[in-house]
């Protein structure tokens, strides 16, 4: 009959959320200016997307979705899922790229 409140819960402060939100907005603007203004002649375009997008996703997952405050189990579950997607990508690419 647990109250949710009786189990250990972590109340995240508004400040944290605001900072995360600001970071997300900043990263979005950075990413779009890199690719829209063709910084570096467009060479950095996909590299930026490869780094910045996962970073943004991680911010959402860790702070907005509270993964930072959850049990290890949740992190393992997420890692396994991501690994499987990456393996699916890799093994399929092994066919498509070398066909």
């Amino acid at each position: 009959m647990a109250h949710e409140a009786t189990e250990e819960i972590h109340v995240v402060s508004y400040t944290t959320y605001t900072l995360v939100w600001a970071a997300l907005v900043g990263l979005t603007l950075l990413l779009s200016s890199i690719s829209l203004l063709h910084m570096g002649g467009g060479r950095w375009n996909s590299l930026a997307a490869f780094i910045i997008s996962p970073l943004k996703a991680a911010l959402v997952v860790f702070f907005f979705m509270h993964l930072k405050y959850e049990k290890t189990l949740f992190r393992i579950m997420l890692m396994v899922t991501l690994c499987i997607i990456i393996i699916f990508l890799g093994l399929t690419f092994l066919d498509v790229a070398l066909r």
Binding site: M1, A2, H3, E4, A5, E7, I9, V11, V12, S13, Y14, Y17, T18, V20, W21, L24, V25, T28, L29, L31, S32, S35, L36, N45, S46, A49, I52, S53, K56, A57, V60, V61, F63, F64, M65, H66, E70, K71, T72, L73, F74, M77, L78, T81, L82, I84, I85, F88, L89, T92, F93, V96, A97
Partner: protein, 211 residues
């Protein structure tokens, strides 16, 4: 593994009205992981087709309105921020504030969908859809637009579902069913919304910044 085992010891035996905060969250996370795999299949397709047709995908990207895409990203991020804060508000007992924040998120969702609709109809009017004669003989761009409609379309369906779930949370808060003590419904609704947000974070560079 050890903390999992320890936690099991605590797992109280089921009572008539079984409430398990951790369990509810675990179930929601599992559902979200399966959603990740659903979109994962699409990302695999996108990656393979883009590897096959790099130039056509870049050409396809040049038909996108990047400004609208970025604007919509900011809209979604703000909605995520609001719904995350609403949990804090509810936990601190500020129900009105929490409801206002959830309402804000719902509005951002609606705004997002309106922008989306404007975009889609624009593309279709200009003839950028998979079997239009404009793209005839351009297999790469046909694929690009097929994926664009399918992926943003499926994402849009998720936004609509998210709006529905958040509306339910709003009603439950108003009726006093979701409260300072029992907020897991709101938390799960928010988790779902964040997932929708994350998927969009990836869709932005894949389509709007692909040029």
């Amino acid at each position: 593994m050890s903390d999992v085992a320890a936690e099991a010891g605590r797992a109280e035996h089921a009572h008539e009205e079984h409430r398990d905060y951790e369990g509810a969250k675990l179930g929601m996370w599992l559902f979200l992981l399966s959603e990740c795999m659903l979109f994962g299949g699409l990302f695999v397709l996108y990656a393979m087709y883009r590897a096959d047709h790099p130039r056509a995908f870049s050409a396809g990207g040049s038909h996108m309105d990047a400004i609208l895409g970025v604007a919509n990203t900011l809209v979604l991020l703000t909605g995520s921020f609001a719904v995350a804060s609403s949990i804090t508000a509810l936990q601190r007992g500020r129900r009105k504030l929490a409801m206002g924040l959830v309402g804000t998120t719902i509005l951002t969702g609606v705004a997002f969908m309106i922008v989306k609709a404007v975009e889609w109809s624009g593309h279709i009017r200009q003839g950028y859809f998979p079997h239009s004669h404009l793209l005839q003989g351009k297999p790469g761009e046909q694929l690009f637009f097929s994926l664009y409609y399918v992926m943003t379309g499926l994402h849009g369906l998720h936004v609509i579902a998210g709006i529905a779930v958040l509306t339910a949370a709003l009603i439950l808060m108003a009726r006093g069913k979701v409260t300072q003590e029992h907020f897991v419904f709101l938390e799960n609704a928010a988790l779902y919304w964040h997932l929708v947000d994350i998927i969009w974070i990836f869709l932005l560079p894949l389509f709007y910044l692909a040029a």
